[in-house]
Structures are given as C-alpha cells and as structure tokens.
C-alpha cells in the first residue's frame, strides 16, 4: 500500500488484509508492554489543519506502539494555515525526512493533492478531508462490527449479509462516505436514513438503499445502526427547523433503542451530542460499541501505518 486516501478504491481483499493485521495489532495492545519495533527509525508526521484531538492521539498512539518517531504538526492557526501553500508544507516535511504524513484537512481532496503533487515521497494517510472521506474511521468501524460478529475467529471474514443503517447528516459526513464504500466492498448491505436536506444529491450510483424514516429503518431490524453527529449550527442553514425536531425525527432515543433487535449494535464515530442524535441510554447501553471503537481505532491505525511503511512501495493508491 503506497497511500491510504479513500476507501472508494480499496478492494475487498486489501480491506481484509488491513483488518487482519489490525487483529494482530489488537493482541499487542493487551500485552504488558504494548509496543512493537516494526517502525523503528521511521518518522510519522501528524499534519492537522483541523482540531481533532481524538484522531490525532489515536494516530500518535498507533505510531508510538510501532516505535516510530512522531512529529505533531498542528497547522491550524499557524503560518501554515495563513497562506503557506500545501506545496511548501509538503516540501518542508520532505526535508524533515517524513516517511508517512497523516493529514487532516478541512478541504476535500487535500490528501490526494499531497499524494499526487510530487512534492513529497512519503506515504499519505487521509485522517479526514473536508466532507470527502475518513478511511481509518470506516476501517475501525468495519473492524468493530467484524469482531462483534465473529469474535476471535474474525480473521479472513468480510461483513457479508450484515445490514448496516447509517443515520443523520450524510451530506456533510466523510465518515458516511468512507463507510458506504468500505462496508459494501466487504459485503454489507448499507442503507442511509436522513432528512432529504441532509442527503447528498443524485445518489443513484451509490450501492445503498435510501430512506427518510428512522422508525421504518428500525422496524427492518438492522444488525448495526450508526448514528452520525449532527451539528446544531446546520439549522441556521435551514437543513432542519431546530434541534428538537431533528431529535424527535432522527434521534436514537430509548424507545427507538428498545424497538431494535437484541443483536443490533449501536455505533457512533464520536464526538457525540448526547440527547440530540443519541440518548445517553443508547450511548451507554451494552449494545453500544462506542468505547470499543476508540480502542479499535488504535489497532486499525497501527495496521495502516505498518502496511504503509514496513515494505517496499508497491505503487498502489
């Protein structure tokens, strides 16, 4: 793997390799010394143009557990965001000897521009770009689902036949996009539920089912229900009237949770708005995978960094 820019171009077999390696990494996490020497001498730069403490520390932990050197480059508010071009920043990082750059950027496609610009040789990992993709989040979601479905025997499995319903602000969600491509590549059946204002246009090419009614989606008995964070500010742009109405129509409250089948997992990429898109009862219930998702994030990111940096470049996007 040369870069990880999106899940759109990740084949099923490649995805399963990443998830299997993540299983090995998860075993390391349970050890007394959760550290491997695999990336000793490699430098991983976390280049964050957006605040995201959760994602950054997850990548940082992953890199450190693989014994890589980590440089955190918070570009937000620095000279970098005030006009220094992506090219200049890339060339600076190249001069510093970065072997991998983990980039979070508010603009869709920024990691692709870094990867294709020819300014830096390092492997690029997309840690969330605008409203485009967030591939490691989708990988950790898939990993979490697969572990719950198959337990210790998860290796080698896809998510065939698993029915996943993603609810909320699909339009602005990079998590939703990455999950649609990855989960369907792994064999899951994905449906999206949102008010029409928060659904992207012209989705006929997407391999998903669309719906507006959360109760109908719950009555269909999904194996996984994934609640997306809703930003209350969206109501100022008339995407929905107010938080109360949104919560009433598309929030996972205790009643709706009770209507879900016993086996249904409740997922959320975080950070949550408790009481808005998800009730405290749902977030804290045993069906919720939210804390597992955080732990699994480190394992999945270890796998991605390992596969990116441990071998010769294979020229695969």
């Amino acid at each position: 793997m040369r870069h990880l820019l999106s899940t759109k171009d990740l084949a099923r077999e490649e995805a399963i390799v990443i998830l299997d390696v993540a299983e090995d990494m998860a075993e390391v996490a349970g050890r007394e010394v959760p550290r491997l020497p695999a990336l000793r001498g490699k430098t991983v730069v976390n280049l964050f143009y957006e605040d995201s403490t959760r994602t950054r520390i997850s990548f940082e932990a992953a890199a450190k557990r693989l014994s890589a050197d980590v440089i955190n480059f918070s570009a937000k508010g620095s000279s970098v965001s005030k006009g220094e071009s992506l090219k200049d920043t890339a060339q600076t990082l190249a001069a510093m000897g970065a072997d991998a750059v983990v980039v979070r950027h508010p603009a869709s496609g920024a990691p692709d521009v870094l990867a294709r610009g020819g300014w830096i040789d390092a492997g690029i990992v997309n840690a969330g770009d605008g409203t485009h993709e967030h591939p490691t989040q989708a990988l950790l979601d898939a990993f979490t689902i697969r572990r719950r479905l198959h337990g210790a025997a998860a290796r080698g499995h896809g998510l065939d036949g698993c029915r996943v319903t993603i609810v909320g602000d699909i339009l602005h969600s990079r998590v939703a996009r990455s999950n649609v491509w990855l989960l369907t590549a792994l064999g899951a059946r994905v449906s999206l539920v949102a008010p029409a204002t928060l659904m992207p246009v012209a989705l006929d090419r997407w391999p998903v089912e669309l719906g507006y009614d959360l109760d109908a989606a719950i009555a269909a008995g999904p194996d996984v229900i994934m609640m997306l964070r809703i930003q209350a500010e969206r109501m100022h742009d008339a995407f929905f009237p107010n938080a109360r109405e949104y919560s009433r129509q598309w929030g996972l409250d205790d009643e709706r949770m009770a209507a879900l089948p016993e086996r249904s997992m409740i997922m959320h990429p975080g950070p949550m708005n408790r009481g808005l898109e998800i009730s405290a009862g749902a977030a804290d219930s045993p069906r919720s995978t939210i804390r597992e998702q955080v732990a699994n994030g480190v394992s999945v990111r270890m796998a991605v960094l390992y596969l990116l940096l441990s071998g010769a470049m294979e020229g695969k996007a």
């Binding site: 793997m1 390696v21 090995d24 075993e27 007394e32 390992y306 441990s310 010769a312």
Partner: protein, 176 residues
Amino acid sequence: MPARTVLQPSDITRALTRISHEILESNRGGSDLVILGIPTRGVVLAERVGAILESIEPGSGTVGTLDITMYRDDLGRNLTRTPRPTRIPPGGIDGKTVVLVDDVLFSGRTIRAALDAMVDLGRPRAVRLAVLVDRGHRELPIRADFVGKNLPSSLAERINVRLDEIDGVEEVTIEP
C-alpha cells in the same frame, strides 16, 4: 544441476524424535516446557515435537506460535510482510523453559527477532533453540541447542524444507 535430497521423510521423523528426547533430558523432565514454533514451517515442526513430547510424557507438549514479522531488521527493504498470529499458551511464558522451533538456522537474524519478540511477551526462565537444519553462515552470536542435521553449505546454495502439512511433500533438498 538438480536439487539433491538430503533428508527423507523417515530422516525428518527420526530427527524430531531425537530432538524431543534431548529436550526432555536437558529440561530434566517435561514440566514448565513451552514449545514455540516460528512461522511458517517452524509452527508445523513445533506441533510435531509437541505431539512426540506428549506421547513420551503426557502434559509436556504445550505448543504455541511466535510471529516475528514486526521484529525483523529488514522491514522496509522487502515487500510488506503480512504478520501471522502469535499464540501463547494460556499459562504464558513467565518462568517457563521456552523452546523456539524453526526449520533452518542460517544468519541468526530470525532468532534475534524472535528473542526480541519474546521479551515483549514475558520473562522465560530459559530459552532454547531447536532447528531441523543448521546450514551455518551465522551473522550473529547465536547457536542451536538441538539440531536435526548439520548441513554445511555454500552461500550460493539453497536449502528447501518441505513439509507434508504445508507443501504436500516431505523432504529437505539442497539446490546449487
């Protein structure tokens, strides 16, 4: 020149049986023994040694696997290797006598990586090394405690270990 067979199936079985007896002897019995195979073929050999130990002294054949991919010193120089699972028996390795099992002992770098990997998993009382073939050319101060066959070879030669469970044939050959 075609490959020359240096160990037949019966030779391999005999070598593993002898190694198993030597292990029990040097350990003064079968207590607190853990046999760890190094993927890929070391795992098969470890399982066979474990079965022989079990038949000699029931309870002595505790077997696991130790993947060393992440500990190699040549990562980044070769194509990405997908790691294999490491399986440590439920009792762990703390205070145990661990016998590492591999097919061929060559430069010693694999064993160096295995020792590093083991340090991260616990603190054995002692670590021993069993190999089916020792072909020489060590690059590190490492030696085997139990050797199936010493096979002096030139660097240009290739030693192939093929085992029934993986390769469908059972032989050790040397290729010029």
